[in-house]
């Protein structure tokens, strides 16, 4: 009586080995496995068999291609093994069954024979040039687009000897510039985030007929690589971007922007900051949290960029954006103060710097700025004073000299009797200003008229 193994730990998938297989190796996820099987219902009715088709059944393991009991069952088998799988409905076709062959809620029995397996062929034209064996599986579905930036770790070996091991970041399609062999690049396009895979790469996609002197790879050598894809860049308009992922992407772009900033490429940096912000539109920045922090810091970095580009209007604008989320952000206040200062709005600048000082009393920079502002204002006021003084003194002096002159300049000098119409007033013609403002009547005075004509 063969032993019954419970593969799913809940009795849903039971295996009885009918014939032991050879070797210890088992197929891994992503492998193409080939097997013969005969499926029967519990009453013995055969519903399906690969033998009837005279062709083994082939599928990729662990990818959800087949009913769940098969992914579990086949992964536990060895080459040549023959077994009987008993699958509960929840691991097969469930309550609804699969008409017409499989009735609802049916337990299925499969007599299975594993004939063999091979690595998944990921080469573009299907010549088995790049074989992939997944070591660490990822449940993500997205793969890097052409041109996307990828961060990955690669370990290359030849006949058991490791010849290169490095972390690398590059854009898909530009692998050549980073000495990435085509095989690895092609495989990366099919990998998911956080996946690790072993790649067997034929010379055609590796070092070719020339080999590689540096790595001591002979001509026409098949090499092996272990590749882990850490992360990669996504498009903004991607359909499935949840808040978490968007945040991650925003950070990537922020970092990128900052790198450009450091190398004094401000326009470039702004471009990446903008992209980062557009990712953040998927996140809720109205409440406190990481999304808001990142968003604020991007705005602040943008402010720096604009400062370097001497665009102070924009600088003030982005500071305002940051402050709209965090009204007490010191950096934002400080930078807005700087922007105001350069724009000549010293009072506003002073207000901002004082706000900083209030929040952080020991902030030296703010104190300095306040002093500078105050000085500036003071000198400005003084200058103003001086100017007015000189004006006044000049006026006074001229006043003094013309004291005896009748007050011709006085607009009301001519209106001798208030409330009475003089002949002059009665005959006065209506000016345009009066037409437009019917409740105003101008006295016929040269001074006023001249003044109002241009209104």
């Amino acid at each position: 009586m063969p032993e019954v193994i419970d593969l799913s730990n809940d009795g849903g998938v039971l295996k009885e080995i009918l014939k032991e297989g050879e070797g210890k190796e088992q197929p891994c996820d992503g492998c193409v496995v080939s097997c013969h099987y005969t499926g029967t219902l519990l009453d013995g009715t055969k519903f399906d068999s690969s033998l009837d088709r005279n062709e083994p059944f082939e599928f990729k393991l662990g990818k959800g291609q087949v009913i769940r009991s098969w992914d579990i069952g086949v992964a536990s088998m060895h080459k040549g093994e023959k077994c009987m799988l008993t699958c509960a409905p929840e691991y097969a076709y469930g309550v609804s069954g699969s008409p017409p062959n499989i009735p609802p809620n049916a337990t299925l029995k499969f007599e299975l024979e594993l004939l063999g397996w091979k690595g998944e062929d990921v080469s573009k034209n299907g010549d088995n040039g790049i074989e992939r064996y997944v070591i660490v599986k990822s449940d993500k579905k997205k793969t890097p687009n052409d041109g996307a930036r990828v961060k990955c770790k690669i370990v290359g070996s030849y006949e058991g000897r490791v010849f290169e091991e490095r972390d690398v970041e590059f854009n898909i399609g530009e692998g050549e510039d980073y000495n990435i062999i085509p095989g690895v690049e092609t495989a990366l396009e099919k990998m998911h985030e956080q996946e690790t895979s072993r790649l067997i790469i034929k010379p055609k996609y590796a070092f070719g007929s020339e080999g590689n002197e540096q790595f001591k790879i002979p001509p026409d050598a098949t090499v092996e690589y272990l590749v882990t894809l850490h992360e990669f860049e996504r498009e903004v308009e991607a359909w499935k971007l949840d808040a978490e992922e968007s945040l991650k992407q925003a950070k990537i772009f922020k970092e990128k922007g900052t790198n450009y900033y450091k190398s004094d490429r401000f326009q470039q940096a702004l471009k990446f900051y903008k992209k980062g912000l557009s990712f953040l539109s998927n996140c809720d920045t109205s409440v406190e949290g990481e999304a808001r922090t990142v968003s604020v810091s991007i705005y602040l970095n943008k402010a720096l960029c604009y400062q370097k580009l001497n665009d102070y209007d924009e600088m003030r604008r982005v500071c305002n954006e940051a402050l709209s989320m965090e009204p007490k952000n010191i950096k934002a206040l400080y930078r807005r103060g700087q922007a105001y200062f350069t724009l000549g709005e010293i009072e506003n600048a002073l207000a901002d710097f004082e706000a900083v000082h209030e929040i952080e009393p020991e902030n030296k920079a703010a104190i300095n700025q306040i002093t500078i502002c105050k000085q500036k204002i003071k000198s400005y006021v003084e200058e103003e004073k001086k100017r007015y003084k000189s004006m006044l003194s000049r006026y006074c002096s001229s006043d003094g000299s013309k004291e005896d002159v009748p007050q011709l300049e006085d607009p009301f000098a001519n209106v001798s009797k208030f409330g009475e119409w003089t002949e002059e007033e009665r005959s006065h013609t209506i000016t345009k200003f009066e037409e437009e403002n019917p409740d105003v009547i101008l006295c016929d005075n040269v001074f006023f008229k001249e003044e109002l004509k241009n209104m």
Partner: protein, 904 residues
């Protein structure tokens, strides 16, 4: 003249003279002529055979034709293979006639059977040339003209052109079967573990037959009803044959799906290498469309389904099949339905939810876009409908996150208002599914909910100036969404109650103005059309009213007649009414909620503070609510009510009120009445009524307040302090007024009906008259009526107000001749209450002379109601939309009445 030329002439002569025996002899003469002729086969074929191998001869001189065929097969048998093959292919290129085509096929078959496995290329060339011929076959013109239903499609087989197509498919079957047999026999002994996917004869032949499933066959109806005993159509026969043959060549056709997925996700960047190692990765050799047809035939039409592996997971089949489906739904209008059917069938087989992770893959985006295009722009109504069903099924097959993402993304890439409205409703239903759970998933609440709500569902494209007629579907769906979610989500799981004031500012107020604009515009338009009708009569002018683009820019203006135009304008107005009504409902609910908030807040305030200051309560009101359109005086007046009460009075009743609160405001109204009548002496009641009657005079000035009662008391000669009798203040005045009007109405109705047992001639008209009469009674107080309405909705006042309302409705029903006691009893009353309440609300904002607009509104409502009733009676399977409308009407009615109607 060389010997060869002589011989050719001789052969030609024999043939022309019908000396076939001589001709045969000539060819079979091993020693002399035969060899010469065989080695000069190109000339023989060109100069002799083709001359006689014509369609004309096939009919008139069959013997001659046969002889020619014989010569060709002889050549195929004996000549140099490669050479004669190319010769035949060349002939094939120019063949226009089916009979000749068949003859050539016969000979080609002979050659191909003789060729070995290594000659894959020549097989492929041959098959390509044959395919070209098939592709040239003309389809019937019928397809270009209109869209046929299934039965009509089947009848098409009698069309001559289609018969010709089918004949050719049968010929092809005869041609490839022997080759297929030979290939399979050759491979039967291979014991390979893995399937060979490279270029070989087997795979090449498979691809060829697969491609035969495309045009023109894909255009035909290939369905067959296995239940009925009808004979299979020829096209179905052909299709079945093809599928069976394909399954012989590649027993597990589903296996190919992995290659299709692979090549679609990672397409070849450069020119496709013809020397692909895997033939199935070649987009032209295994086209998506044709493979989709194959899947359709297997999965939907159940051809050979049972012989395929049953071990594939249905999810996987859909996830990979979607590439083919996508291709099918963008194809023409006869292939698209097949794609939709396939999609639906595959979706319905899915047992587990699809994960939202799938949406990472671009195909879903493309698929949705194409589906949207189909469901909006397809000229065939059937296609549009089934596309909508497919979309719904598709969305619902995903997990909650997936559904949310799909709804959001589809909304963002479609501008079709109806679709957005439909999706709003779908989202609403998804929320309602889990509204009773402890907490809602993050995709149905919080930020995600807010985003969808403000960015898509409640969005007025173009703001205040938007065209309401165009987006009416979206607006109604949005209002319905708000209505249902606000009411059902009592504990604010979705967070909707935190957005109410935002909603008002960003959406409802704009909608209000937009609605007013549109209504004004359309009313003006109606006037204009009317005037133009007159001028037309006078001047016999054929001028068409311009400025009509607002309804439909695509419709040719000149074709719209005046009547049609009026009809459209009026229907637009009816739509406005509908929106108006929904809007009023939503506003009212939001309002009630804010009153409740104020009420509880002010109550707390009473408790904590001993001094009562009117202003501070007003502050509470201003920070929690925004003024609404119905009446700005709502809160303020209801608040004055509370503010005016003195604090002792309040404290005395505090406990009683609280217990009322906890007990649910809906108490049995009968016991309420009893309580009242027991408590109050008849005499007191009389005095009360007297005072209240007098107080009505002052309502227009002082509102429904204690103030009016005081004035009333003074006027009727009682001391003003007597208002203490009216412990509930203004609401008693309202109740009195309501009951008084009800009584008056009963009198009026009795007068009109005369004998009670007589039936009214036209119940519809009678109901309309009754409501109108009743509303006219309110008219003197119309300015302060909003205040009364608001007070009636306050929780402590609900039971009495409700009783009054129901009495009114019941009376009207009774006098209109409804004495039935069936289910309709409820339905009718609730329907009537809805109409009454809606009209009442409408009247509040109606500024027309004599409230004419209100009466029109009322008439339309009654017309609608009888329409709805008719539909309900006539068919249970009313379209989804209508049943939804009816459903919402009932819910609304129930809400208006504030009860589940089984309570009564």
């Amino acid at each position: 003249m060389s010997s060869a030329e002589q011989l050719i002439k001789l052969l030609d002569f024999n043939l022309t003279q019908h000396n076939f025996d001589n001709a045969k002899k000539l060819l079979n003469d091993e020693n002399q002529f035969g060899q010469t002729i065989l080695s000069n086969y190109p000339e023989v074929i060109q100069q002799v055979v083709l001359k006689h191998l014509t369609a004309n001869n096939y009919e008139k001189q069959p013997e001659l034709y046969e002889a020619c065929e014989y010569i060709l097969s002889l050549f195929a048998e004996k000549c140099h293979q490669q050479g004669i093959l190319f010769e035949f292919l060349e002939i094939l290129e120019n063949v226009k006639d089916d009979d000749v085509f068949r003859s050539i096929l016969k000979s080609l078959q002979v050659i191909l059977l003789k060729q070995s496995e290594s000659k894959t290329r020549s097989l492929e060339y041959t098959l390509n040339s044959i395919e070209d011929y098939i592709l040239e076959l003309e389809l019937s013109d019928v397809f270009k003209k209109k869209y046929l239903d299934e039965e009509e499609e089947k009848l098409l087989e009698n069309d001559e052109k289609i018969r010709r197509i089918l004949m050719n498919y049968l010929t092809l079957d005869l041609f490839y079967q022997p080759i297929l047999k030979q290939i399979i026999e050759n491979h039967s002994n291979d014991k390979k573990i893995f399937r060979v996917t490279k270029y070989n004869r087997q795979n090449v032949l498979f691809c060829f037959i697969l491609r035969l499933l495309g045009k023109p066959l894909s255009h035909l109806n290939l369905s067959h009803d296995s239940e009925s005993n009808k004979v299979k159509t020829y096209s179905r026969d052909v299709a079945e044959n093809l599928v069976k043959t394909l399954c012989k060549l590649y027993p597990d056709v589903f296996n190919i799906l992995q290659y299709i997925e692979f090549r679609c996700r990672w397409p070849q960047k450069d020119k496709i290498d013809d020397d692909l190692f895997n033939i199935f990765l070649h987009p032209e050799k295994v086209p998506l469309l044709q493979f989709g047809i194959l899947l359709y035939l297997i999965i939907v039409e159940n051809i050979n389904y049972e012989t395929l592996p049953q071990t594939y997971s249905p999810n996987y089949l859909f996830k990979t099949g979607i590439y083919c489906i996508n291709e099918m739904i963008v194809a023409n209008d006869t292939v698209a339905p097949k794609g939709l059917k396939l999609c639906y069938k595959m979706l319905s087989k899915i047992t587990e939810c699809l994960s939202s992770d799938e949406l990472d893959i671009k195909i879903h985006e493309d698929f949705c876009n194409n589906l949207i295009k189909l469901l909006i722009y397809s000229p065939s109504k059937k296609n549009r409908q089934s596309a909508l069903i497919v979309m719904r099924t598709y969305i619902l097959k995903f997990d909650i996150a997936g559904r949310y993402l799909l709804i959001k993304n589809i909304m963002s890439c479609s501008t079709h208002k109806g679709l957005i409205g439909y999706l709003s409703t779908l989202y609403k239903n998804i929320i309602l599914e889990s509204i009773n759970d402890e907490t809602l998933p993050s995709h149905l609440s919080g930020f995600n909910f807010k985003q969808l709500l403000f960015n898509f569902i409640c969005k007025l494209e173009g703001g205040v100036q938007c065209d309401i007629t165009e987006s009416s579907d979206q607006i109604i769906a949005a209002l319905n969404f708000l209505n249902v979610i606000i009411q059902r989500d009592k504990t604010n799981k979705t967070g909707i109650r935190s957005h109410l004031s935002d909603l008002k500012i960003k959406y409802l107020c704009d909608l209000r103005s937009a609605l007013d604009f549109s209504r004004a515009h359309f009313t003006a338009e109606i006037e204009r059309v009317k005037i133009n009708v007159d001028t037309k009569c006078n001047k016999q002018d054929d001028d068409v009213v311009s400025n009509f683009e607002i309804l439909n820019d695509n419709a040719p203006l000149a074709e719209i007649t005046k009547e049609k135009k009026m009809e459209m304008l009026h229907s637009a107005l009816a739509t406005f009414d509908l929106i108006d009504f929904h809007l009023a409902r939503v506003n009212e609910i939001i309002h009630q909620i804010s009153i409740k908030i104020i009420f509880t807040e002010s109550q707390q305030w009473y408790k904590t503070s001993s001094c009562l200051e009117f202003r501070s309560i007003l502050d509470v009101s201003s920070c929690t609510t925004n003024p609404l359109y119905i009446s700005r005086s709502f809160h303020i007046s209801s608040l004055t009510l509370y503010a005016e009460k003195n604090i002792e009075d309040f404290r005395a009743r505090e406990e009683q009120k609280e217990s009322e609160y906890n007990q649910q405001p809906l108490e049995n109204e009968n016991s309420e009445k009893e309580k009242q009548s027991n408590e109050e002496d008849e005499q007191v009641l009389e005095v009360k009524n007297k005072i209240l009657e007098a107080a009505l005079e002052f309502v227009t000035v002082n509102g429904w307040t204690r103030q009016s009662i005081v004035k009333g008391a003074e006027k009727s000669g009682y001391p003003s302090t007597i208002h203490g009798m009216f412990s509930n203040g203004g609401i008693e005045l309202i109740n009195y007024f309501y009951l008084k009007c009800n009584k008056e109405l009963v009198e009026k109705m009795r007068e009109r009906v005369g004998d009670e047992n007589e039936k009214v001639a036209d119940p519809k008209q009678f109901v309309s008259w009754a409501i109108q009469e009743r509303l006219i009674m309110i008219r003197p107080y119309i300015k302060t009526w909003p205040q009364a309405l608001a007070m009636m909705t306050l929780p402590p006042n609900v039971p009495t107000s409700l009783a009054n309302m129901l009495t009114l409705v019941d009376d009207i029903c009774y006098f209109s001749g409804d004495r039935s006691v069936d289910f309709n009893w409820y339905a009718r009353r609730i329907g009537l209450a809805t109409i009454y309440k809606a009209t009442e609300l409408y009247m509040l904002q109606d500024s027309s002379i004599n409230n004419e607009n209100t009466w029109k509104f009322l008439e339309r409502r009654i017309a609608d109601a009888s329409l709805v009733h008719d539909v309900l009676v006539q068919s249970e399977s009313a379209t989804q939309h209508l049943s939804q409308a009816v459903g919402s009407a009932f819910i609304t009615a129930r809400n208006i009445l504030g009860l589940n109607f089984d309570r009564r």
